[in-house]
């Protein structure tokens, strides 16, 4: 086994975005492992909520879906979706949301709906699920995604989940809370500047600035103080491989 895989680096990097005491809306797969890793390391008071309505979940094993019974057994509370979305998410009670998608653009808008024309798509994707709500109502969102030119167009084909649409100020005026905080890829970490445009903040040891630019659909600004991502510690890797994803479902 290598000391760490690309996915394991993304997981450990994503975990660092979480602060102790944060309430986070968790997705399955990689975000779930990142949240559980944070909870077992620097953020023991992390509160995990799933859009299925489980509040303060404490899963005994890796959930197969966001509706897995392990998310309800031993949770602090379970509520109908009208409430997980209404009383929690829309009410601003969730700090961090994880988002996925097929495309993310310069303003952090995410597309998980269609590739191509909406009415005659090349690829029909699953759609929003709760993503539109998560992007609109959490205080900060984090995206974890492979870094390829197709996934990073200058403008997405369909805005499923609004980022800094028209800039940070415009987002605020639209009544949208928070906004994209970080995009964690297999090449680096991207953040958003004062105007709401994505820039390169850190590069993973395995990658270069040129490679990142090559995999991005527009001329990407690079931070003056662009840093190198810290590699996973042996303790983090042991937690992931032994406890959080022992069958390597998401990390191999």
């Amino acid at each position: 086994m290598p000391p760490y895989t690309d996915t394991e680096l993304m997981i450990t990097r994503a975990a660092q975005e979480l602060e102790d005491g944060d309430t986070t809306l968790v997705g399955v797969g990689v975000p779930n492992i990142a949240c559980n890793l944070a909870k077992r390391t620097h953020a023991p008071e992390l509160e995990m909520i799933y859009e299925s309505g489980t509040i303060g979940s404490n899963p005994s094993q890796l959930p197969l879906s966001i509706g897995d019974p392990v998310l309800a057994s031993n949770a602090k509370s379970v509520v109908p979706m009208t409430q997980s979305f209404g009383n929690y998410l829309q009410a601003g009670r969730i700090d961090v949301g994880f988002l996925g998608g097929a495309q993310i653009d310069r303003e952090g808008n995410i597309n998980s709906t269609v590739i191509g024309d909406y009415d005659d798509p090349t690829v029909r994707l699953p759609g929003s699920g709760g993503a539109c709500e998560i992007a609109s109502n959490t205080h900060r969102t984090i995206m974890i995604t492979p870094h390829t030119k197709r996934r990073f167009p200058e403008e997405v084909d369909f805005i499923t989940s609004p980022g800094y649409v028209g800039g940070r100020e415009n987002r605020k005026e639209l009544g949208l809370r928070g906004g994209p905080e970080a995009v964690i890829t297999d090449k680096g970490v991207l953040r958003f500047d004062e105007s709401g445009e994505m820039y390169l903040a850190a590069i993973h040891p395995s990658s270069t600035e040129a490679e990142v630019q090559e995999a991005t659909g527009w001329e990407l600004t690079v931070a003056d103080d662009v840093s190198e991502t810290r590699t996973p510690t042996p303790e983090e890797i042991a937690l992931i491989r032994e406890d959080l994803d022992p069958d390597g479902i998401y990390t191999e």
Binding site: V28, G53, G67, S73, V79, P80, T82, G127, G129
Partner: protein, 305 residues
Amino acid sequence: MSKLRDMEGAIDAAVEDGQTMYLGGFTHLIPFAAGHEIIRQGYEGLTAARATPDLIYDQLIAAGCVDDVVFSWAGNPGVGSLRAFRRAVEEEVPHAIGLEEYSHFGLVTRLEAGARHLPFLPLRSYVGSDYIEHNDAIRLLENPYDGPLNEIPVVPALNPDVAIVRAQRATEDGSAQLWGILGEIVEAAFAADTVVLSVEEIVDEDVIRSDPNRTFIPDSVVDYVVEEPYGSHPSYAQGYYGRDNEAYLTWDEQSQSHDGTQEWLDEWVYGVENRREYLEKLTPERLLDLEPKTNYATPIDMGEY
């Protein structure tokens, strides 16, 4: 008044060609047995509404029962795509389907408006997204109060002709208790004109009345009750059985071609009379592996006054 039927009788009485149908359950308590019976009875032209179409709508689409899908997330949860759904959208196989698309909160809010007999309800989604442009049912309303918001999106009530929902236990007349993930099950039952309730177990009314705060679905909204153990397999019933992930992976494999879906339907739906025969085709190991350990909730004292 007992509303007990077998699944065949309940579906026959409740469902008609061309209806708008909502099978409730967000990943949990999905009414698979009912869905298979709908396929067996060969309904056509259904508008199939559901936040997460899941395997059950993929199978209904593959079987040709569905003309339109109203949804918010069309995937095989934790596995990947809904291949029959995509084939219908992208290649019109077995025939084209129409889509009406929301986000999760939008769709459950539509049910809530329906349950409350309101024409619409507001929500703080869709602003800044491309939904409003592509779905005429999502509209903007002026905020009549002072405050930072000038406009707010609204979604219209959804009142399905028929809803089919699952619960762990109910009386013969349909007062039902459910626990674990509730999803949008209760809102769907209140919003629909006709409701089929399918449960793991029928219990005495005393059981229900001993804990009224857990009775989320009252008999007054239920038309037909079906006792159908394992009726949510391969999804799950909290406290009764877990999700059978093998079935989700098998469907992913089988549904790579339209022919593959037909083979699967022939074996698991058309080839069996009812859910009992379906279950008999599973191996005992497979059912045993789904059983959780017992884990009782700390009881409460309602008091006798």
